[in-house]
Symmetry: C2
Subunit: 381 residues, 2 copies
Amino acid sequence: MYINKTVKEIQISDIRKIYEKMQTYENTINMSLGEPDIDVPEEVKKAVAHHAVNTRIKYSPVGGMPELRQKIADFYNENFSGKFSADNVLVTVGSTEGLGSVMKAIIADGDEVLMPTPAYVGYGSLIKLTGGTPKYIDLRENEFKLTAEILEKHITPKTKLVILTNPNNPSGTTLPKEEMEKIAALLKDKEIYLLSDEIYASIVFEEYTSFAEYWEKLEKKLIVVSGFSKSHSMTGYRIGYIITNPDLQLQVKKVSQYNVTSTSTLSQYGALVALEKCSDRKEVSEIYRKRVEYFKNELEKMRFKCLEPKGAFYIFAGYENIDRLKNMKSLDFALDLLEKTGLAIVPGSTFQVEGYVRFSIVHDIPVLEEAIGRLKKYMNL
Amino acid sequence: MYINKTVKEIQISDIRKIYEKMQTYENTINMSLGEPDIDVPEEVKKAVAHHAVNTRIKYSPVGGMPELRQKIADFYNENFSGKFSADNVLVTVGSTEGLGSVMKAIIADGDEVLMPTPAYVGYGSLIKLTGGTPKYIDLRENEFKLTAEILEKHITPKTKLVILTNPNNPSGTTLPKEEMEKIAALLKDKEIYLLSDEIYASIVFEEYTSFAEYWEKLEKKLIVVSGFSKSHSMTGYRIGYIITNPDLQLQVKKVSQYNVTSTSTLSQYGALVALEKCSDRKEVSEIYRKRVEYFKNELEKMRFKCLEPKGAFYIFAGYENIDRLKNMKSLDFALDLLEKTGLAIVPGSTFQVEGYVRFSIVHDIPVLEEAIGRLKKYMNL
């Protein structure tokens, strides 16, 4: 029977394949998914339980509760030098639906979307689903550092959108402020939107700059996408948001309305409390920082080459210096490692970079020690 | 700045316009939205509150929790003569996301989707967002009764999907069993999917037949779309599902995964309990039946011509026999009525039928009496 050609061609991601293979093994350590092990804040849980029982849960207004939209604007203004009001904000079904609805609103057949690599796995498929073409910027030659100069070289008349993930998934790296300024200056006069995926902005290990700081410099062609899945471990709540100019917000809202109607009302009550009572994630960031530091050191002892994480909870590690591994495709390495040790990680090919793998650091130190032990054994160290 | 042309052209629905205008008046009666006034079952509320506090809420498996998918299959097998397993079921962000993801998986540029009128407002925009063309079958000449014969006349080589809403929104009418059988026979050998929107299937006033009964006759080219928003008043939970053959389920799952990742895990726990402990909606149906009967009688006394509701909680009423109204466009009537009386209803034009309006019967009898009083006053009766 008839299936849309683009949909048919889109693959279930390698992350999912690894995850499914993992289910067939015992005693596995899952370092594949970006699912935080740290619990949802107690205040959020209690508020959601309270509203479930005591509040009549109806359809939320399309685009999100006005008080939550205002609170998100305030949060960005206070923490990331934003100058936003509720009119800039749209609440979405996780940041994923935000990404999808933004792309649908902007992109048409033949349009190009530019992304540096390593790039988050979801972007490419979403772009294809809108009829657009993902264009990856290979940054290997520049140690995975994006500059405004490199970006400019890749812009074509078909470029409609640039996506930057800051902090990055899978590498945890952040963009230097001076480069962000240059990128803003570059895009200022072009008919190109900048989507800044800041889903990890609250989990950072040193000072962090959001593109919100360049809102006016970017002539308001900025779209910030974020949410509560990573900062507050609210993955299962499906609650995210976008921030952009009110005209584009209205267009994205139409797409979102017809595709999902609105976001879970209960989850929105949870998000309100997350911002009211637990917006500061310094303690959580410190937990992730320590773990990442430990794991990166151990990997480097084994001659893995790691990008320097400044946030998030991932390590993106290259293995070209390791004889035992250097000729393996990253998918083969990940599958073989899983089969032989029960340790699940994600191949770099998923993020458009061969010879690297991603470790998701969502376990406490003792589990990380066990993971390192298995890696060493696998490599006969 | 650049916006996708299709998105730009799509309008915020008239229902939304009426709703927004309503906010500027006092003492309104809202008979516009399909938001049940009957509360979410206590068992559901308590279960959700319990899981919010006591269960670690993580990402749900893509496509929904296996136990919920099985429970939905069981529910359809027991109540609607289905022959389904968990592999047939995909859990979605309300039935809306189910509709959107199914359409995206099936439709490509230039494909046509056939629907009888009156047709639910969301279909047309979703079809356009996928690049398809909505084709409405005008049933006015046949008293809004679809037959297999009429359907056949409208099928073209471009037809990829037929959407039937059973019970119907906005009219509450259901398809006669003998006609469903003929429709199944007609579509059996064609490369055309049948989407049966059965979101109101649990709110019925007499015996009801689901297209699930014709699963094999339809050569498994059936997609049932449903959810918990109307049957269990769980609108704000955003939880629905589709049931189809496993091949198509997989294709729709890919779309759904990239667009929303998964549905709220908490809402899925709520849906589990809704099916385990409160799947029988006879009492709720009886409440709606009594209200609908009362309101329809009163409308008919005023010479409105009502389609006969056999389920759901709407009345679709024509006013061509009423001199005071007969020359008004339905949008003008709805706006004027709101302005002069504070009574909010939805114009028939929203559903592709002029000269009619939809009343949403989501209030108790005393409020309905007040609404009738205002209507009478408006018409100088």
